[in-house]
Symmetry: C2
Subunit: 255 residues, 2 copies
Amino acid sequence: MRDLTIPDSQGAAAETMAVRDFRPEAPPTGCMACGVRQLCLPAKLNASEIERFSAIVHRRGPFKRGDIVYAAGDPLDGLHVVQAGALKTHGVTGRGVEHVARFHLPGELAGTDAIHSGVHPWYTVALERTWLCAMSFEQLSNLAREVPPLGRALVRTLSRELSADEAALMTLGKMGASQRLTWFLNDLHTRYAKTLGSAEELHLPMTRADIASYLGMTTETVSRLLARLQSEGVIEFNGRSVRLSRAAFPAQRCL
Amino acid sequence: MRDLTIPDSQGAAAETMAVRDFRPEAPPTGCMACGVRQLCLPAKLNASEIERFSAIVHRRGPFKRGDIVYAAGDPLDGLHVVQAGALKTHGVTGRGVEHVARFHLPGELAGTDAIHSGVHPWYTVALERTWLCAMSFEQLSNLAREVPPLGRALVRTLSRELSADEAALMTLGKMGASQRLTWFLNDLHTRYAKTLGSAEELHLPMTRADIASYLGMTTETVSRLLARLQSEGVIEFNGRSVRLSRAAFPAQRCL
DNA sequence: CGATCGCTTGATTCATGTCAAGCTAGGTGG
DNA sequence: CCACCTAGCTTGACATGAATCAAGCGATCG
């Protein structure tokens, strides 16, 4: 892990946390009690297996907005699961323009794109106050050999990321700007629902610029489209909190 | 595997094969002698491990243009490595429009996006006369447990696919149409070079419509841009054969 | 208290999509 | 073997969605 020297669970100062945050001040109680477990690697492990997995994981945080988890070029050391908060993975063009390739929400794994080359190809940074569960890939790999269900979970997780990326490629390639945006909102809602339950109110951890970059448009267009969707009654929003009108999101098919 | 009943290595009729095809009429001689091995799963296995891997693989083909390897909704049964030829993975919108998410070239693995759900999310079809190496995911998974390097190879391969998709998301999201196209040509060239060596002439296995769909533009735009790139001296092309002017593709950075 | 960042809204421009037409090559049937 | 037929490709004229340029506002941070 590069020398970030982010204080591990440092003085849990009293701060108002966004609704979406998952008991962010609680010290790690181990995977057994973790709220994102059903999405995370130990999802299908039994108690003793979880115990062993838990032993190779340590909690890191809080990362704050903008803190770097991986920089492009860093050697692969550990993978991280988002326990609370959110990350983005982005590249930077020659002239300093950044482009977001994906967001990582609670329960999702980051760093996997570095496995094959041993080097992180992009930047991964925190979008808001974030806690991560770190594990050495080396140790994970070894443990997976002894605990086959863990190996299978790793493969399944990679496959899930893969098909998520493919879905994004499908949607972002063909659809118009407005459809891309509604797809995005719906996707976020679905992913949050997996760990935090389906909430009325969706809190966006990222800026308009991040959304625009991810969806391949400009911040101006995002703003305008949000305004239009609101006027059409499809959504209601206020800053970064968005309420999706269920009527207008009819089990949205992604393609 | 769904009932494709594609004749296994059926009567190797004498046919003129495209330059890119990899000894397509030769019967399978096992992974040891396979030309795409260095990219394929057994890349880093020793002779006896390759032997075991080889035993769970069987060769299928020839598939011809348009033959379906996986249909959306099919249960996961086997994974396939492209030994010769090429595949595309695409979704179909409500009104029958298709969108291509990725191409699979020799040595690349297909079907992995079905692992996590057990169901293939999209269609995967042959673009040209194609041979595949099929393996049951079940058997692969079991063998990976006994042969750890194979498990690692599987994880590495998934990671490679993942970062390829991310690179595509980066490029397709931000760049203009012309840059997307040159990125695409360069990417194809690079990938072919891994198994077949760097050739002067790049043979495109897909139609303009496939390219357009993948890059998020129209066939007309692809045509026009190819014409423009040729007039600028960046490429020379004739139908589906393209020659990249090395001078104009200066170690093209993808972002 | 000022400065900066994130967001919104308006006016204008331009790249790419859409519609339309014609060309070419390869495959099929007579 | 020839003649048609179709799928794939190319080119042109025109329309438009989204980018760009520009301006202003509110909240947060130092």
